[in-house]
Subunit: 325 residues, 2 copies
Amino acid sequence: MTGDLPVRFADVAAAADRLRGVAVETPLLESEALNQLVGGRLLIKPEPLQRTGSFKFRGAYNAISALRPAAVVAYSSGNHAQGVALAARLLRIPATIVMPADAPRTKLEGTRALGAEVVTYDRAVDDREAIGRDIADRTGAVLIRPYDDARIIAGQGTLGLELAEQAAHIGARLDAALVCCGGGGLVAGCATALTHLVPGIAVYAVEPVGFDDTTRSLAAGRRLGNEPGGRSLCDALLAPMPGELTFAINAQLLAGGVAVSDDDVARAMRLAFRHLKLVVEPGGAVALAAALAGKVPTRDRTIGIVLSGGNVDADLFARLLAEAA
Amino acid sequence: MTGDLPVRFADVAAAADRLRGVAVETPLLESEALNQLVGGRLLIKPEPLQRTGSFKFRGAYNAISALRPAAVVAYSSGNHAQGVALAARLLRIPATIVMPADAPRTKLEGTRALGAEVVTYDRAVDDREAIGRDIADRTGAVLIRPYDDARIIAGQGTLGLELAEQAAHIGARLDAALVCCGGGGLVAGCATALTHLVPGIAVYAVEPVGFDDTTRSLAAGRRLGNEPGGRSLCDALLAPMPGELTFAINAQLLAGGVAVSDDDVARAMRLAFRHLKLVVEPGGAVALAAALAGKVPTRDRTIGIVLSGGNVDADLFARLLAEAA
Protein backbone atom coordinates (compact mmCIF):
# COMPACT_ATOMS: atom_id res chain seq x y z
CA MET A 1 0.00 0.00 0.00
CA THR A 2 2.85 2.39 0.71
CA GLY A 3 5.03 1.29 -2.18
CA ASP A 4 4.27 4.39 -4.23
CA LEU A 5 5.07 6.83 -1.42
CA PRO A 6 8.27 8.91 -1.40
CA VAL A 7 9.40 7.36 1.90
CA ARG A 8 9.08 3.67 2.71
CA PHE A 9 9.57 1.78 5.95
CA ALA A 10 12.95 0.54 4.70
CA ASP A 11 14.12 4.16 4.50
CA VAL A 12 13.19 4.70 8.15
CA ALA A 13 14.95 1.49 9.16
CA ALA A 14 18.08 2.61 7.25
CA ALA A 15 17.93 5.97 9.04
CA ALA A 16 17.71 4.16 12.38
CA ASP A 17 20.92 2.29 11.52
CA ARG A 18 22.62 5.58 10.65
CA LEU A 19 21.49 7.21 13.91
CA ARG A 20 22.37 4.32 16.24
CA GLY A 21 24.81 5.51 18.91
CA VAL A 22 24.56 9.09 17.57
CA ALA A 23 21.01 10.13 18.44
CA VAL A 24 19.53 9.45 21.87
CA GLU A 25 17.04 6.59 21.94
CA THR A 26 14.64 8.55 24.12
CA PRO A 27 12.85 6.47 26.78
CA LEU A 28 9.14 5.69 26.80
CA LEU A 29 7.57 7.46 29.78
CA GLU A 30 4.26 6.99 31.51
CA SER A 31 2.54 8.86 34.34
CA GLU A 32 -0.18 7.42 36.57
CA ALA A 33 -1.58 10.93 37.03
CA LEU A 34 -1.83 11.69 33.30
CA ASN A 35 -3.35 8.28 32.63
CA GLN A 36 -6.00 9.00 35.25
CA LEU A 37 -6.76 12.39 33.70
CA VAL A 38 -7.53 10.86 30.28
CA GLY A 39 -9.00 7.55 31.46
CA GLY A 40 -6.57 5.66 29.24
CA ARG A 41 -2.89 4.94 28.83
CA LEU A 42 -0.49 7.53 27.40
CA LEU A 43 2.93 6.27 26.27
CA ILE A 44 5.12 9.31 25.92
CA LYS A 45 8.23 9.84 23.76
CA PRO A 46 10.15 12.78 25.26
CA GLU A 47 12.25 14.42 22.54
CA PRO A 48 13.26 17.29 24.82
CA LEU A 49 15.82 14.67 25.92
CA GLN A 50 17.12 14.34 22.33
CA ARG A 51 20.40 16.03 21.37
CA THR A 52 19.74 19.75 20.69
CA GLY A 53 16.48 19.43 22.66
CA SER A 54 14.21 18.33 19.83
CA PHE A 55 13.58 15.52 17.33
CA LYS A 56 15.03 17.63 14.51
CA PHE A 57 18.52 16.22 15.03
CA ARG A 58 17.26 12.85 13.76
CA GLY A 59 16.33 14.06 10.27
CA ALA A 60 19.22 16.49 9.97
CA TYR A 61 21.84 13.88 10.80
CA ASN A 62 20.22 11.31 8.52
CA ALA A 63 20.16 13.72 5.57
CA ILE A 64 23.61 15.24 6.03
CA SER A 65 25.38 11.96 6.79
CA ALA A 66 23.86 10.44 3.66
CA LEU A 67 24.74 13.41 1.42
CA ARG A 68 28.13 14.39 2.91
CA PRO A 69 28.15 17.78 1.15
CA ALA A 70 31.01 20.30 1.38
CA ALA A 71 28.75 22.77 3.22
CA VAL A 72 25.10 23.07 4.26
CA VAL A 73 22.54 25.85 4.61
CA ALA A 74 19.13 25.68 6.28
CA TYR A 75 16.26 27.98 7.23
CA SER A 76 14.47 27.31 10.46
CA SER A 77 12.67 28.92 13.39
CA GLY A 78 15.15 27.17 15.65
CA ASN A 79 14.84 23.44 16.18
CA HIS A 80 15.83 22.37 12.67
CA ALA A 81 18.54 25.04 12.96
CA GLN A 82 20.09 23.36 15.98
CA GLY A 83 19.63 19.88 14.53
CA VAL A 84 21.46 20.86 11.33
CA ALA A 85 24.14 22.75 13.28
CA LEU A 86 24.99 19.78 15.50
CA ALA A 87 24.81 17.23 12.69
CA ALA A 88 27.11 19.39 10.55
CA ARG A 89 29.55 19.86 13.41
CA LEU A 90 29.69 16.14 14.14
CA LEU A 91 30.36 15.52 10.42
CA ARG A 92 32.85 18.43 10.24
CA ILE A 93 30.84 20.34 7.63
CA PRO A 94 30.35 24.14 7.80
CA ALA A 95 26.73 25.26 8.30
CA THR A 96 24.88 28.53 7.69
CA ILE A 97 21.42 28.85 9.26
CA VAL A 98 18.76 31.41 8.31
CA MET A 99 16.58 32.18 11.36
CA PRO A 100 13.82 34.69 12.13
CA ALA A 101 15.13 37.57 14.24
CA ASP A 102 12.30 36.98 16.73
CA ALA A 103 13.05 33.28 17.28
CA PRO A 104 13.33 32.26 20.95
CA ARG A 105 16.69 33.40 22.35
CA THR A 106 17.49 29.91 23.51
CA LYS A 107 17.23 28.70 19.91
CA LEU A 108 19.33 31.53 18.43
CA GLU A 109 22.01 31.13 21.10
CA GLY A 110 21.88 27.35 20.93
CA THR A 111 22.46 27.39 17.17
CA ARG A 112 25.43 29.77 17.45
CA ALA A 113 26.88 27.74 20.35
CA LEU A 114 26.92 24.70 18.05
CA GLY A 115 29.29 26.54 15.70
CA ALA A 116 26.89 27.48 12.88
CA GLU A 117 26.84 30.90 11.20
CA VAL A 118 23.41 32.43 11.89
CA VAL A 119 21.77 34.87 9.42
CA THR A 120 18.58 36.48 10.77
CA TYR A 121 15.60 37.79 8.79
CA ASP A 122 12.30 39.57 9.45
CA ARG A 123 9.48 37.01 9.54
CA ALA A 124 6.94 39.65 8.42
CA VAL A 125 8.63 40.84 5.22
CA ASP A 126 11.47 38.52 4.15
CA ASP A 127 11.23 35.21 2.25
CA ARG A 128 13.38 32.73 4.16
CA GLU A 129 13.38 30.19 1.36
CA ALA A 130 14.73 32.79 -1.07
CA ILE A 131 17.44 33.79 1.41
CA GLY A 132 18.41 30.15 1.88
CA ARG A 133 18.51 29.51 -1.88
CA ASP A 134 20.58 32.64 -2.40
CA ILE A 135 23.18 31.50 0.14
CA ALA A 136 23.19 28.05 -1.45
CA ASP A 137 23.73 29.56 -4.91
CA ARG A 138 26.52 31.84 -3.74
CA THR A 139 28.43 29.38 -1.57
CA GLY A 140 27.70 26.00 -3.15
CA ALA A 141 26.20 24.79 0.13
CA VAL A 142 23.49 22.13 -0.08
CA LEU A 143 20.12 23.31 1.24
CA ILE A 144 18.80 21.03 4.01
CA ARG A 145 15.03 21.56 3.92
CA PRO A 146 13.17 21.43 7.24
CA TYR A 147 10.56 18.86 6.19
CA ASP A 148 9.92 18.44 2.47
CA ASP A 149 12.82 16.04 1.89
CA ALA A 150 12.66 12.24 1.86
CA ARG A 151 15.81 11.83 3.98
CA ILE A 152 14.55 14.30 6.59
CA ILE A 153 11.19 12.51 6.76
CA ALA A 154 12.90 9.11 7.11
CA GLY A 155 15.12 10.43 9.91
CA GLN A 156 12.18 11.87 11.86
CA GLY A 157 10.43 8.53 11.33
CA THR A 158 12.97 6.83 13.60
CA LEU A 159 11.02 8.36 16.48
CA GLY A 160 7.92 6.43 15.39
CA LEU A 161 10.01 3.28 14.95
CA GLU A 162 11.28 3.56 18.52
CA LEU A 163 7.79 4.26 19.84
CA ALA A 164 6.42 1.10 18.19
CA GLU A 165 9.32 -1.05 19.40
CA GLN A 166 9.30 0.30 22.95
CA ALA A 167 5.54 -0.10 23.28
CA ALA A 168 5.79 -3.70 22.03
CA HIS A 169 8.62 -4.32 24.50
CA ILE A 170 6.32 -3.55 27.45
CA GLY A 171 3.47 -5.54 25.95
CA ALA A 172 1.35 -2.51 25.01
CA ARG A 173 -0.75 -2.31 21.84
CA LEU A 174 -1.01 1.24 20.47
CA ASP A 175 -4.51 2.19 19.35
CA ALA A 176 -3.45 5.63 18.18
CA ALA A 177 -0.57 8.10 18.09
CA LEU A 178 -0.66 11.89 18.32
CA VAL A 179 2.17 13.75 16.61
CA CYS A 180 2.73 17.50 16.27
CA CYS A 181 2.67 18.95 12.78
CA GLY A 182 4.21 22.07 11.29
CA GLY A 183 5.31 21.21 7.75
CA GLY A 184 4.43 17.60 8.44
CA GLY A 185 7.80 15.87 8.29
CA LEU A 186 7.68 14.33 11.75
CA VAL A 187 4.15 13.00 11.46
CA ALA A 188 4.81 11.69 7.94
CA GLY A 189 7.92 9.82 9.09
CA CYS A 190 6.25 8.51 12.23
CA ALA A 191 3.18 7.38 10.27
CA THR A 192 5.44 5.54 7.81
CA ALA A 193 6.96 3.55 10.68
CA LEU A 194 3.89 3.17 12.87
CA THR A 195 1.40 2.05 10.19
CA HIS A 196 3.97 -0.54 9.05
CA LEU A 197 4.69 -1.91 12.52
CA VAL A 198 1.28 -1.50 14.19
CA PRO A 199 -1.46 -2.45 11.70
CA GLY A 200 -4.68 -0.58 12.37
CA ILE A 201 -3.10 2.24 14.38
CA ALA A 202 -4.73 5.66 13.92
CA VAL A 203 -2.05 8.36 13.55
CA TYR A 204 -3.21 11.99 13.97
CA ALA A 205 -1.48 15.26 13.12
CA VAL A 206 -1.87 17.86 15.87
CA GLU A 207 -1.62 21.56 15.00
CA PRO A 208 -2.17 24.92 16.71
CA VAL A 209 -5.45 26.71 16.06
CA GLY A 210 -4.85 29.16 13.20
CA PHE A 211 -2.14 26.91 11.72
CA ASP A 212 -4.26 23.83 11.05
CA ASP A 213 -3.36 23.68 7.35
CA THR A 214 -2.67 19.94 7.40
CA THR A 215 -5.90 19.20 9.26
CA ARG A 216 -7.94 21.15 6.70
CA SER A 217 -5.92 19.81 3.77
CA LEU A 218 -6.53 16.23 4.91
CA ALA A 219 -10.26 16.94 5.09
CA ALA A 220 -10.27 18.65 1.67
CA GLY A 221 -8.02 16.12 -0.05
CA ARG A 222 -5.70 18.84 -1.36
CA ARG A 223 -3.08 21.22 0.06
CA LEU A 224 -4.52 24.35 1.66
CA GLY A 225 -2.54 27.20 3.25
CA ASN A 226 -3.10 29.07 6.50
CA GLU A 227 -4.75 32.49 6.63
CA PRO A 228 -2.00 35.08 7.05
CA GLY A 229 -1.74 37.00 10.33
CA GLY A 230 -2.46 34.11 12.69
CA ARG A 231 -0.72 34.01 16.06
CA SER A 232 0.25 31.06 18.24
CA LEU A 233 2.48 30.24 21.19
CA CYS A 234 3.83 27.39 19.07
CA ASP A 235 6.78 29.07 17.30
CA ALA A 236 7.95 25.70 15.98
CA LEU A 237 4.70 24.94 14.11
CA LEU A 238 4.10 28.01 11.94
CA ALA A 239 4.71 26.52 8.47
CA PRO A 240 2.42 28.20 5.89
CA MET A 241 1.13 25.05 4.21
CA PRO A 242 1.77 21.29 4.01
CA GLY A 243 4.83 20.17 2.08
CA GLU A 244 4.41 18.30 -1.21
CA LEU A 245 6.14 15.13 -0.06
CA THR A 246 4.79 15.28 3.46
CA PHE A 247 1.22 15.79 2.29
CA ALA A 248 1.49 12.93 -0.22
CA ILE A 249 2.39 10.66 2.70
CA ASN A 250 0.04 12.14 5.27
CA ALA A 251 -2.98 12.08 2.94
CA GLN A 252 -2.51 8.35 2.53
CA LEU A 253 -1.45 7.29 6.03
CA LEU A 254 -3.06 9.60 8.61
CA ALA A 255 -6.41 9.10 10.32
CA GLY A 256 -6.86 12.89 10.38
CA GLY A 257 -5.80 16.06 12.14
CA VAL A 258 -6.91 18.06 15.18
CA ALA A 259 -6.12 21.58 16.41
CA VAL A 260 -5.46 22.84 19.94
CA SER A 261 -5.59 26.33 21.47
CA ASP A 262 -2.83 28.21 23.28
CA ASP A 263 -4.69 27.52 26.54
CA ASP A 264 -4.70 23.79 25.80
CA VAL A 265 -0.96 24.00 25.13
CA ALA A 266 -0.15 25.95 28.30
CA ARG A 267 -2.08 23.45 30.41
CA ALA A 268 -0.21 20.55 28.81
CA MET A 269 3.11 22.27 29.52
CA ARG A 270 2.14 22.72 33.18
CA LEU A 271 1.05 19.10 33.52
CA ALA A 272 4.27 17.90 31.84
CA PHE A 273 6.20 20.02 34.36
CA ARG A 274 4.27 18.56 37.26
CA HIS A 275 3.86 14.93 36.34
CA LEU A 276 6.67 14.21 33.87
CA LYS A 277 9.28 16.67 35.22
CA LEU A 278 9.99 17.67 31.64
CA VAL A 279 10.48 21.06 30.05
CA VAL A 280 8.34 21.02 26.91
CA GLU A 281 8.15 23.94 24.50
CA PRO A 282 4.73 25.11 23.26
CA GLY A 283 5.00 23.41 19.85
CA GLY A 284 6.27 20.29 21.56
CA ALA A 285 3.23 20.03 23.82
CA VAL A 286 0.40 20.04 21.25
CA ALA A 287 0.04 16.23 21.13
CA LEU A 288 -0.29 15.96 24.92
CA ALA A 289 -2.62 18.98 24.80
CA ALA A 290 -4.86 17.19 22.28
CA ALA A 291 -5.12 14.11 24.49
CA LEU A 292 -5.86 16.15 27.63
CA ALA A 293 -8.42 18.31 25.81
CA GLY A 294 -10.28 15.25 24.53
CA LYS A 295 -9.63 15.99 20.84
CA VAL A 296 -9.44 12.24 20.17
CA PRO A 297 -11.01 9.39 22.16
CA THR A 298 -8.72 8.31 25.01
CA ARG A 299 -10.90 6.23 27.33
CA ASP A 300 -9.53 2.68 27.73
CA ARG A 301 -7.20 3.27 24.79
CA THR A 302 -3.41 3.20 24.58
CA ILE A 303 -2.08 6.26 22.80
CA GLY A 304 1.45 7.19 21.79
CA ILE A 305 2.21 10.85 22.50
CA VAL A 306 5.18 12.63 20.95
CA LEU A 307 6.64 15.50 22.98
CA SER A 308 8.73 16.92 20.16
CA GLY A 309 11.00 19.47 21.85
CA GLY A 310 11.88 21.52 24.90
CA ASN A 311 13.57 24.67 23.60
CA VAL A 312 11.61 27.37 25.39
CA ASP A 313 12.89 30.59 26.93
CA ALA A 314 12.94 30.68 30.73
CA ASP A 315 10.81 33.82 30.99
CA LEU A 316 7.98 32.40 28.86
CA PHE A 317 8.13 29.07 30.72
CA ALA A 318 8.02 30.81 34.11
CA ARG A 319 5.06 32.95 32.98
CA LEU A 320 3.07 29.93 31.75
CA LEU A 321 3.83 28.02 34.96
CA ALA A 322 2.56 30.91 37.05
CA GLU A 323 -0.87 30.87 35.37
CA ALA A 324 -3.47 28.78 37.19
CA ALA A 325 -3.38 25.12 36.11
CA MET B 1 36.63 -5.32 51.86
CA THR B 2 32.89 -4.70 52.06
CA GLY B 3 32.05 -8.07 53.59
CA ASP B 4 31.45 -6.62 57.05
CA LEU B 5 29.12 -3.86 55.87
CA PRO B 6 25.35 -3.99 56.45
CA VAL B 7 24.64 -3.90 52.68
CA ARG B 8 26.62 -5.87 50.12
CA PHE B 9 26.64 -5.73 46.33
CA ALA B 10 24.54 -8.90 46.22
CA ASP B 11 21.78 -7.08 48.11
CA VAL B 12 21.75 -4.33 45.49
CA ALA B 13 21.68 -6.90 42.68
CA ALA B 14 18.75 -8.66 44.39
CA ALA B 15 16.93 -5.33 44.68
CA ALA B 16 17.50 -4.72 40.97
CA ASP B 17 15.81 -8.05 40.23
CA ARG B 18 12.86 -7.05 42.41
CA LEU B 19 12.53 -3.65 40.71
CA ARG B 20 12.84 -4.88 37.11
CA GLY B 21 9.77 -3.87 35.13
CA VAL B 22 8.40 -1.97 38.15
CA ALA B 23 10.81 0.95 38.51
CA VAL B 24 11.89 3.01 35.51
CA GLU B 25 15.43 2.29 34.32
CA THR B 26 16.19 5.98 33.89
CA PRO B 27 18.34 6.81 30.85
CA LEU B 28 21.90 8.12 30.99
CA LEU B 29 21.91 11.69 29.66
CA GLU B 30 24.71 13.91 28.47
CA SER B 31 24.82 17.54 27.35
CA GLU B 32 27.52 19.05 25.13
CA ALA B 33 26.91 22.42 26.80
CA LEU B 34 27.32 21.11 30.36
CA ASN B 35 30.41 19.14 29.38
CA GLN B 36 31.92 22.33 27.95
CA LEU B 37 31.14 24.24 31.13
CA VAL B 38 33.07 21.77 33.32
CA GLY B 39 35.77 20.81 30.82
CA GLY B 40 34.98 17.14 31.33
CA ARG B 41 32.24 14.60 30.73
CA LEU B 42 29.13 14.47 32.92
CA LEU B 43 27.01 11.31 32.68
CA ILE B 44 23.69 12.14 34.23
CA LYS B 45 21.09 9.86 35.85
CA PRO B 46 17.76 11.74 35.84
CA GLU B 47 15.58 10.42 38.66
CA PRO B 48 12.94 13.10 38.09
CA LEU B 49 11.87 10.58 35.42
CA GLN B 50 11.47 7.84 38.06
CA ARG B 51 7.97 6.89 39.22
CA THR B 52 6.80 9.44 41.85
CA GLY B 53 9.44 11.87 40.53
CA SER B 54 12.37 10.74 42.68
CA PHE B 55 14.69 7.79 43.40
CA LYS B 56 12.84 7.07 46.65
CA PHE B 57 10.46 4.63 44.93
CA ARG B 58 13.39 2.25 44.43
CA GLY B 59 14.13 1.73 48.12
CA ALA B 60 10.50 1.83 49.21
CA TYR B 61 9.41 -0.84 46.74
CA ASN B 62 12.41 -3.02 47.55
CA ALA B 63 11.73 -2.87 51.30
CA ILE B 64 7.95 -3.27 51.19
CA SER B 65 7.94 -6.03 48.56
CA ALA B 66 10.48 -7.99 50.63
CA LEU B 67 8.59 -7.52 53.92
CA ARG B 68 4.96 -7.72 52.64
CA PRO B 69 3.55 -6.31 55.90
CA ALA B 70 -0.18 -5.86 56.60
CA ALA B 71 0.26 -2.06 56.70
CA VAL B 72 3.07 0.50 56.55
CA VAL B 73 3.83 3.87 58.10
CA ALA B 74 6.58 6.32 57.14
CA TYR B 75 7.75 9.82 57.97
CA SER B 76 9.13 11.95 55.20
CA SER B 77 9.39 15.48 53.84
CA GLY B 78 7.82 14.22 50.65
CA ASN B 79 9.87 12.06 48.31
CA HIS B 80 10.07 8.99 50.55
CA ALA B 81 6.38 9.66 51.29
CA GLN B 82 5.43 9.31 47.63
CA GLY B 83 7.77 6.36 47.10
CA VAL B 84 6.20 4.47 50.01
CA ALA B 85 2.68 5.48 48.97
CA LEU B 86 3.08 4.16 45.42
CA ALA B 87 4.93 1.00 46.47
CA ALA B 88 2.22 0.24 49.04
CA ARG B 89 -0.55 0.87 46.51
CA LEU B 90 1.07 -1.42 43.93
CA LEU B 91 1.38 -4.11 46.62
CA ARG B 92 -2.17 -3.43 47.92
CA ILE B 93 -1.00 -2.47 51.41
CA PRO B 94 -2.50 0.50 53.34
CA ALA B 95 -0.02 3.32 54.05
CA THR B 96 0.03 6.19 56.57
CA ILE B 97 2.60 8.94 55.95
CA VAL B 98 3.75 11.53 58.50
CA MET B 99 4.76 14.75 56.69
CA PRO B 100 5.76 18.25 57.77
CA ALA B 101 2.89 20.71 57.31
CA ASP B 102 5.22 23.00 55.33
CA ALA B 103 6.34 20.35 52.82
CA PRO B 104 6.05 21.41 49.16
CA ARG B 105 2.39 21.30 48.08
CA THR B 106 3.27 19.07 45.14
CA LYS B 107 4.63 16.48 47.59
CA LEU B 108 1.66 16.64 49.97
CA GLU B 109 -0.84 16.44 47.13
CA GLY B 110 1.16 13.78 45.31
CA THR B 111 1.21 11.56 48.40
CA ARG B 112 -2.54 11.89 48.94
CA ALA B 113 -3.21 11.27 45.25
CA LEU B 114 -1.39 7.94 45.58
CA GLY B 115 -3.96 6.81 48.14
CA ALA B 116 -1.95 7.18 51.35
CA GLU B 117 -3.35 8.69 54.55
CA VAL B 118 -1.29 11.81 55.32
CA VAL B 119 -0.73 13.01 58.92
CA THR B 120 0.99 16.42 59.12
CA TYR B 121 3.21 17.76 61.93
CA ASP B 122 5.02 20.98 62.81
CA ARG B 123 8.70 20.68 61.84
CA ALA B 124 9.71 23.16 64.56
CA VAL B 125 8.17 21.47 67.60
CA ASP B 126 7.06 17.89 66.84
CA ASP B 127 9.20 14.71 66.72
CA ARG B 128 8.29 12.95 63.48
CA GLU B 129 9.99 9.71 64.50
CA ALA B 130 7.92 9.56 67.69
CA ILE B 131 4.73 10.21 65.72
CA GLY B 132 5.63 7.46 63.27
CA ARG B 133 6.44 5.00 66.06
CA ASP B 134 3.18 5.87 67.83
CA ILE B 135 1.15 5.12 64.69
CA ALA B 136 3.09 1.91 64.21
CA ASP B 137 2.40 0.86 67.82
CA ARG B 138 -1.32 1.68 67.59
CA THR B 139 -2.04 0.15 64.17
CA GLY B 140 0.50 -2.64 63.86
CA ALA B 141 1.91 -1.02 60.74
CA VAL B 142 5.57 -1.63 59.92
CA LEU B 143 7.69 1.55 59.96
CA ILE B 144 9.52 2.07 56.66
CA ARG B 145 12.51 4.24 57.56
CA PRO B 146 13.64 6.80 55.01
CA TYR B 147 17.32 5.78 54.94
CA ASP B 148 18.64 3.83 57.93
CA ASP B 149 17.44 0.44 56.72
CA ALA B 150 19.45 -2.13 54.79
CA ARG B 151 16.63 -2.86 52.30
CA ILE B 152 16.10 0.83 51.62
CA ILE B 153 19.82 1.35 51.04
CA ALA B 154 19.99 -1.67 48.72
CA GLY B 155 17.01 -0.39 46.72
CA GLN B 156 18.53 3.08 46.29
CA GLY B 157 21.75 1.36 45.24
CA THR B 158 20.07 0.10 42.07
CA LEU B 159 20.54 3.64 40.76
CA GLY B 160 24.31 3.26 41.12
CA LEU B 161 24.16 -0.18 39.53
CA GLU B 162 22.38 1.25 36.49
CA LEU B 163 24.82 4.15 36.28
CA ALA B 164 27.80 1.77 36.22
CA GLU B 165 26.22 -0.52 33.64
CA GLN B 166 25.00 2.29 31.38
CA ALA B 167 28.38 4.03 31.46
CA ALA B 168 30.12 0.76 30.57
CA HIS B 169 27.62 0.23 27.75
CA ILE B 170 28.77 3.43 26.03
CA GLY B 171 32.41 2.67 26.70
CA ALA B 172 32.88 5.34 29.38
CA ARG B 173 35.05 4.86 32.47
CA LEU B 174 33.75 6.72 35.52
CA ASP B 175 36.45 8.53 37.48
CA ALA B 176 34.01 9.78 40.09
CA ALA B 177 30.34 10.03 41.04
CA LEU B 178 28.51 12.82 42.83
CA VAL B 179 25.42 11.81 44.81
CA CYS B 180 23.16 13.96 46.95
CA CYS B 181 23.03 13.17 50.66
CA GLY B 182 20.37 13.79 53.32
CA GLY B 183 20.41 10.82 55.68
CA GLY B 184 22.85 9.10 53.33
CA GLY B 185 20.84 6.14 52.04
CA LEU B 186 21.16 6.95 48.34
CA VAL B 187 24.89 7.62 48.42
CA ALA B 188 25.51 4.54 50.61
CA GLY B 189 23.61 2.32 48.18
CA CYS B 190 25.20 3.88 45.12
CA ALA B 191 28.68 3.59 46.63
CA THR B 192 28.03 -0.10 47.39
CA ALA B 193 27.28 -0.73 43.72
CA LEU B 194 29.77 1.67 42.15
CA THR B 195 32.85 0.72 44.18
CA HIS B 196 32.10 -2.94 43.40
CA LEU B 197 31.64 -2.44 39.66
CA VAL B 198 34.11 0.40 38.99
CA PRO B 199 37.29 -0.21 41.00
CA GLY B 200 39.03 3.04 41.91
CA ILE B 201 35.96 5.26 41.46
CA ALA B 202 35.74 8.20 43.88
CA VAL B 203 32.17 8.57 45.20
CA TYR B 204 31.30 11.87 46.93
CA ALA B 205 28.35 12.84 49.09
CA VAL B 206 26.98 16.29 48.21
CA GLU B 207 25.06 18.26 50.83
CA PRO B 208 23.60 21.76 51.24
CA VAL B 209 25.63 24.30 53.22
CA GLY B 210 24.35 24.19 56.81
CA PHE B 211 23.36 20.52 56.45
CA ASP B 212 26.80 19.07 55.74
CA ASP B 213 26.67 16.58 58.61
CA THR B 214 27.91 13.67 56.52
CA THR B 215 30.77 15.73 55.06
CA ARG B 216 31.93 16.77 58.54
CA SER B 217 31.32 13.31 59.98
CA LEU B 218 33.43 11.70 57.26
CA ALA B 219 36.25 14.14 58.05
CA ALA B 220 35.93 13.55 61.79
CA GLY B 221 35.52 9.79 61.58
CA ARG B 222 32.38 9.85 63.73
CA ARG B 223 28.75 10.93 63.40
CA LEU B 224 28.19 14.64 63.94
CA GLY B 225 24.84 16.48 63.77
CA ASN B 226 23.91 19.75 62.11
CA GLU B 227 23.58 23.00 64.04
CA PRO B 228 19.89 23.66 64.63
CA GLY B 229 18.21 26.57 62.85
CA GLY B 230 19.90 26.15 59.46
CA ARG B 231 17.95 27.00 56.32
CA SER B 232 18.26 25.65 52.80
CA LEU B 233 16.31 25.51 49.55
CA CYS B 234 16.88 21.75 49.62
CA ASP B 235 13.82 20.54 51.54
CA ALA B 236 14.68 16.93 50.71
CA LEU B 237 18.11 17.02 52.37
CA LEU B 238 17.44 18.31 55.89
CA ALA B 239 18.18 15.16 57.92
CA PRO B 240 19.70 16.10 61.31
CA MET B 241 22.65 13.68 61.27
CA PRO B 242 23.97 10.65 59.38
CA GLY B 243 22.20 7.35 59.94
CA GLU B 244 23.97 4.54 61.79
CA LEU B 245 23.89 2.09 58.91
CA THR B 246 24.43 4.69 56.23
CA PHE B 247 27.43 6.20 58.03
CA ALA B 248 29.00 2.78 58.59
CA ILE B 249 28.89 2.27 54.83
CA ASN B 250 29.78 5.80 53.80
CA ALA B 251 32.74 6.04 56.20
CA GLN B 252 34.25 3.01 54.51
CA LEU B 253 33.35 3.58 50.84
CA LEU B 254 33.19 7.33 50.15
CA ALA B 255 36.04 9.55 48.97
CA GLY B 256 34.52 12.43 50.95
CA GLY B 257 31.78 15.02 50.99
CA VAL B 258 31.28 18.54 49.66
CA ALA B 259 28.68 21.24 50.35
CA VAL B 260 26.95 23.64 47.94
CA SER B 261 25.10 26.93 48.51
CA ASP B 262 21.54 27.82 47.56
CA ASP B 263 22.97 29.97 44.75
CA ASP B 264 24.95 27.00 43.41
CA VAL B 265 21.75 24.93 43.52
CA ALA B 266 19.61 27.55 41.76
CA ARG B 267 22.17 27.89 38.96
CA ALA B 268 22.26 24.11 38.51
CA MET B 269 18.45 24.03 38.31
CA ARG B 270 18.50 26.74 35.61
CA LEU B 271 21.17 24.93 33.61
CA ALA B 272 19.26 21.64 33.89
CA PHE B 273 16.19 23.48 32.59
CA ARG B 274 18.11 24.94 29.69
CA HIS B 275 20.41 22.13 28.63
CA LEU B 276 18.72 18.96 29.90
CA LYS B 277 15.07 20.09 29.65
CA LEU B 278 14.52 18.55 33.07
CA VAL B 279 12.66 19.83 36.10
CA VAL B 280 14.98 19.21 39.05
CA GLU B 281 14.08 20.08 42.62
CA PRO B 282 16.63 21.91 44.79
CA GLY B 283 17.75 18.84 46.72
CA GLY B 284 17.94 16.93 43.45
CA ALA B 285 20.33 19.43 41.90
CA VAL B 286 23.13 19.49 44.49
CA ALA B 287 25.35 16.97 42.66
CA LEU B 288 25.19 18.92 39.40
CA ALA B 289 25.71 22.10 41.42
CA ALA B 290 28.88 20.66 42.94
CA ALA B 291 30.31 19.80 39.52
CA LEU B 292 29.45 23.22 38.06
CA ALA B 293 30.85 25.04 41.10
CA GLY B 294 34.15 23.15 40.87
CA LYS B 295 33.79 21.42 44.24
CA VAL B 296 35.59 18.37 42.82
CA PRO B 297 38.04 18.21 39.89
CA THR B 298 36.17 17.82 36.59
CA ARG B 299 38.69 18.69 33.88
CA ASP B 300 39.22 15.76 31.50
CA ARG B 301 37.38 13.47 33.90
CA THR B 302 34.20 11.44 33.46
CA ILE B 303 31.82 11.97 36.35
CA GLY B 304 28.50 10.33 37.16
CA ILE B 305 25.94 12.87 38.35
CA VAL B 306 22.75 11.83 40.13
CA LEU B 307 19.77 14.16 39.71
CA SER B 308 17.72 12.64 42.49
CA GLY B 309 14.26 14.18 42.08
CA GLY B 310 12.01 16.76 40.46
CA ASN B 311 9.21 17.43 42.93
CA VAL B 312 9.27 21.21 43.14
CA ASP B 313 6.35 23.62 43.34
CA ALA B 314 5.69 25.64 40.19
CA ASP B 315 5.93 29.02 41.95
CA LEU B 316 9.37 28.31 43.41
CA PHE B 317 10.61 26.91 40.10
CA ALA B 318 9.33 29.94 38.19
CA ARG B 319 10.97 32.29 40.70
CA LEU B 320 14.36 30.55 40.46
CA LEU B 321 14.16 30.52 36.64
CA ALA B 322 13.51 34.26 36.61
CA GLU B 323 16.72 35.03 38.53
CA ALA B 324 19.71 35.82 36.32
CA ALA B 325 21.63 32.69 35.26
